[in-house]
Symmetry: C2
Subunit: 234 residues, 2 copies
């Protein structure tokens, strides 16, 4: 069985991605402890990896310059509400804290470039064929590093900037849920038996999910739309 | 004065790059402690940053999968010799440990993608206009992440994958010595007053430079060709 490195955050998207990847690959999960307020998600990520029978590593990195409400104690996690979009999904409405096509305060500068770079390094070192990342560009927060056009360019960068790439044996960057709605992601996870009780979405990382951050709202809507009970829901 | 983040390793190339950058920018040096055998270069990097009057940060990252002779105690740093190329520079000869167009054992998987990603994150967070990196593609070790075509693609990735990029205010990735020979780099450094006594090139990181690793050989040739005395030379 070929190997894959899977970026795992402890949230629903990466958990579903891991369960998709493990249908075809021997999975090596890579979890980042990067100073996120929701450090709690690390414990969930470990549980998911264990449930999936995947090896995992937690890598501690430091982003001392912060630059994000997810990292900076001096910046509050925005409280938001959702509205329906024409595509039938849900988006942060124009005029809300992070809406109107703006990139929200929860954006972490260059986060996915950093995470993917480590994953590619790991994949190259252990001879893994692919790197999986659970980014999606529908029902999302407008993060630039979750869009297809970003991944297309990153793939080219990896082709040109790595030994494997320059030898024509590229590390494939796989984004299996990139064009799925959050509802579809929950449906897929439900079908694959993802233990959602081991996933954590809340940006705030309190005792229980806050229910008012962007991530909590997207999650609640998705489970409601999919008709799946959220074991972490209120 | 606009700000720039400058990747600093403690070697000659990044020191010269820092001195070039500081002619135009307020420089913030970023130094990586990534488990390199030549950990000694960190002390040199600090001295260079201080000499240049630049702020600096040392970021500790972990690459537990290693995948390089620079990191793995179980893999020896290759001993090499140089030969003259048609371009007038020097290259590792075909048939030597790392020669013949091959990528040497000292290649670190995805290293420059990782370093640049952090630098871009830092630049975005502090509002720096540019990231400087002292890579060059002549007289070099055939590392894929030191070639122009890699940087071109990485620039596009940053344009697409960052907030700044998607707002049309890209973080510029500057490679001021990319097409210079090592001789020219030493000449430039000499002209700019780079204190070469604070630079460390040897991959082995012993008491004194070994004189037989690729990096020592490139350095010696460059100083000889430039007619500059190397204060670290034997």
């Amino acid at each position: 069985m070929e190997k894959a490195v899977v970026l795992l955050s402890g949230g629903v998207d990466s958990a579903v991605t891991l369960y998709m990847a493990k249908e075809e690959y021997e999975c090596h999960a890579l979890i980042f402890d990067y100073g996120q307020k929701a450090a709690k998600e690390l414990e969930f990520a470990k549980k998911i990896a264990e449930a999936a029978g995947a090896e995992y590593r937690i890598l501690k990195i430091s982003l001392p310059w912060k630059g994000s409400a997810l990292l900076d104690e001096a910046r509050a996690i925005p409280t938001v509400s959702l509205c329906e979009t024409k595509r039938g999904g849900f988006a942060v409405p124009a005029g809300s804290v992070s809406g109107g096509g703006e990139i929200p305060a929860t954006y972490v500068p260059a986060r996915n470039i950093i995470f993917l770079s480590f994953a590619v390094s790991y994949a190259e070192a252990i001879g893994a064929e692919a790197v999986f990342i659970g980014a999606h560009q529908l029902d999302f927060s407008n993060y630039p590093d979750c869009r297809s056009e970003f991944f297309e360019s990153f793939r080219e960068t990896v082709r040109r900037g790595t030994k494997r790439g320059s030898e024509g044996r590229e590390v494939r960057i796989v984004t299996p849920i990139i064009d799925r709605t959050k509802k579809e992601i929950v449906e897929t996870g439900s079908r694959l038996g993802v233990p959602f009780e081991y996933t954590w979405s809340c940006y705030r990382g309190g005792e229980k999910p806050c229910g008012t951050c962007e991530s909590c709202l997207f999650r609640r809507r998705a489970f409601e739309e999919a008709g799946v009970r959220d074991p972490m829901g209120s």
